[in-house]
Amino acid sequence: MENVDLSIVIGGPQGGGIDTASNMISKAFAYSGYQVISVREFHSNIKGRHSYVHLRVKNSQVRSLRYPVDILVALDPDTIFEHHEDISKGTRVLYDADFEASELSQARMIMRDTSRRIKEMLESTGHPLNVRGVLDYMKSKGAFPIPISFGNVVSEAVSDGTPTRYFNTFGAAATLAVVGIEKNYVEKVIKSVFGNKEKVIGPNIKVVDAAYDYCARNNLRIKNLPDLEMGKKMLLTGNDGSAIGKVLGGLRFQTYYPITPASDESTILEEHEELKWIDGENTNLITGGVTVVQAEDEISAINMASGAAMTGTRSATATSGPGFSLMAEAISFAGMDEIPLVVTLYQRGGPSTGLPTRNGQSDLLFALHTGHGEFPRMVISSGDVKECIEDSARALNYAQRYQLPVIHLIDKNLANTTELVDIPDGSSIMIQDPERSDGKDAFSRFTLDTKNGISPIGYFGRDIFWLTGDEHDEKGHVTEDTWMRDRQMEKRFLKLQTAEEEIPMSDRAIVLGPSRADVTFMTWGSQKGLVLDVIDALGKKGIKANLLYLKMFEPFPAKFVSDVLKKAKTVIGVESNMTAQASKVIKMNTGIDIENQILKYNGRHVTEDEVMEASLKIIEKKQKIVVLENGA
């Protein structure tokens, strides 16, 4: 069978059902047996501004997005304006014929500077400043605009007087009809998306029928994607993955304060607060649900989680940059008092409020240094949804085993990426028990009598012990004794050495691809999949490349990374930040400079094509730093 590789953007006003449309498209492809990945891009806005979902579909593993798109579906004029550069020869542009007369000057929801740039493009290419002008521009690049009167077609199918309510379903169905996905899958999707809302399902199915009829009548089909075998899969975002991994890893208490893009994880946990248990495993064991608490601010959220952790509950909080800034003092407390605490840090574009709904990887150095004083912590990062599941369970285990704050980095791009993943096998998730007190009365929470730095932990409700943010003696009372101070500092830091000895290197850093290569990429987080795709593409050009992929930044796998980089020829760092933070961490730990950098800090998801192009600039044209600028 020929390789299927489709790139799609569906865009419309925020609040116009773009998420639902994208969900329909993803599910329909999945039901037909295709691999699909998508990422959601949106403004910090409730209604009106341009939002879109970028999808990619393959009949083999799909792990990155690419421009140009094969299909652009516009549910509003802004989508046509915003994505004028994302098309190429053969791109089908599906849009409402009514948009054609829309003037750029009337598109008030487009950011002023974006509007100015579009205006300049249209003027310089001699097109009128309206949708028709953009469509002409697209045509000049080989795209096929396909005007459809959404209102007429939908009104013929559903006569409830509000045709616009169905435009998202129509757009999704038309997309699927154009590539030849069987209609019965789309009907199945409608039932799945709208659940038991019978009143909604009926008219939506009529709209699907209308879309398929319309595309058939007008010969719009460009492909005929055959059915493939579909395995049982989960359709998950990074937020979902982290939530699932947390409950598998024993999380029973999560706190949060609303913030994008972190709070979705807490909402997902709350929706699934009633946990289901593996048959036969719950006899005689106390099982319940997961408790999610919305705190009054992030300071409260993290401190509540710390308090809960000291009752023996696996506890966590999830936040994003601004909230994490507020948590700094509490991270220091958790380090000092050896509290098993997990903080899931969803990175977005900073600084300050920055780009609140956009991607970024600019909190790595902050996560490594949050909080005053010197104390051990662990910092780990995930690169795809499957890793989100595994790593959030691992983070809880690390926190228990080493009794310290564990910061789990997930970038916004991954949080809002939807992937098809295998159903996790619950029994493959390990639960690592902490070393506990023996429950006897004479208990020293911070005993120095330990070879690995790990003093058995005590819990409220079980033991009598004290915690204090002050330096403390073995019982946990305040001390300023010089000898005890030194010993407690050393005991705390010994835990990192223990962690280094116990945690397999494959969970910390790994080389993917051939062990010997002409080009070695270094990346972390959500660029993992796309760099692997770029490596495949370079391979086809005869350039042998591999990837040094980093997962644990503290304790940092310095020797491993140093050995890999010393052997490497051309090294290229790929990060979603301006200052190449992971490269700085490498330099700090190994003394090795990574000179070549592909960096992106405009907040939009990184795409395969732009990294490929940038890599060639570095490999062939010896450019050192390439800044990526893709994205609407």
């Binding site: 009633e274 289901k276 048959d279 319940g288 408790t291 409220f460 409700g461 009598i464 204090t468």
Partner: protein, 307 residues
């Protein structure tokens, strides 16, 4: 033998400090209630009041400045079987931690908040705290206080605390009785404790307070309690508590201002939503067996499966 609720840690409060009376009232209350010290969690913030857990022979957590309430809330929500008592200063609870103080009223988690109210930041050399009156100049202030005064009892009433009282650190018997009632109360309590700071507050001294305080319970008709049976008198009882809270000048009332038993505590509210929350709270659940997870991901997240 009854548990000794005092530790042998040397107490480093100043001689004559009101904190001693509060510590005595606390440990007496614990003893009289015959509390299991392992089921008691003492939480504090920073300052002189913050040291209290180290002097109490029960599990204790001496946390961050202003953050005692979140820690205490986390402990209580993870294990609602525990009695959680928080000791905090006026700066700790009403300045740096004021947001948490208000939020706790909305939650009504079921913790006892004991506010060490001496109107100054003692440990940092006597700066004005939020309970100091406008224009007051204690001996360590370089100029009269330029801030207005917050009224802890009124703020607690407005925030939703379901048990609101005031004690005086030199009347340990009354304070002990208030603490006992607050611990037995299901929702959250605020106990404002007037206490002299003999080192930095030379205006509101023990003698001054002794002349001003009077007990609400001395009025035999005083009834601050709302139960299901008299819930229709809610407005009247709540308003009266407010009126009494505003008496701050010539005479200062002590005792229980308000006790509302008709508002469910936060654990009870959670129990409405989280299955078996009260019988299987987070802290008592098993999370693994033989090193394996107990949760079935396919069933727990069945809505995410495509088939």
């Amino acid at each position: 033998m009854a548990h000794n609720f005092r530790t042998d840690v040397a107490i480093d409060w100043c001689p004559g400090c009101g904190d001693f009376g509060i510590l005595t009232a606390l440990t007496q209350a614990f003893t009289e209630l015959n509390l299991d010290p392992k089921n008691l969690a003492m939480v504090s913030g920073i300052g002189c009041s913050g040291k209290t857990p180290h002097y109490v022979n029960a599990a204790g957590m001496h946390t961050l400045h202003g953050r005692g309430i979140p820690f205490a809330t986390g402990v209580k929500l993870a294990n609602p079987n525990l009695k959680v008592v928080l000791t905090g200063g006026d700066g700790d609870l009403l300045s740096i931690g004021a947001g948490h103080f208000v939020a706790e009223g909305r939650r009504n988690t079921g913790i006892t908040v004991v506010l060490f109210d001496n109107q100054v930041y003692g440990l940092t050399k006597g700066q004005a705290a939020p309970t100091m009156a406008l224009g007051m100049q204690t001996k360590s202030l370089t100029r009269p206080n330029v801030f207005g005064q917050v009224n802890p009892v009124a703020l607690a009433l407005a925030s939703g605390y379901t048990f609101v009282a005031r004690g005086f650190s030199f009347d340990t018997k009354q304070l002990k009785d208030i603490i006992k009632r607050s611990i037995l109360h299901d929702g959250s309590s605020l106990i404002d404790v007037l206490q002299p700071c003999p080192t930095y507050n030379n205006i509101n001294t023990m003698e001054v307070y002794r002349q001003k305080v009077y007990k609400l319970e001395d009025d035999k008709s005083w009834n601050p309690t709302i139960n299901e049976s008299n819930a229709d008198h809610y407005e009247e009882i709540y308003q009266r508590a407010f009126m009494k809270a505003l008496e701050m000048d010539k005479r200062i009332p002590t005792g229980v201002f308000f006790e509302n038993n008709t508002i469910p505590s936060f654990p009870k509210r959670l129990n409405e939503h989280v299955k078996d929350y009260l019988t299987s709270p987070p802290a008592l659940q098993s999370v693994g067996k033989n090193g394996k997870s107990l949760v079935d991901p396919a069933n727990s997240f069945a809505d995410k499966i495509l088939q």
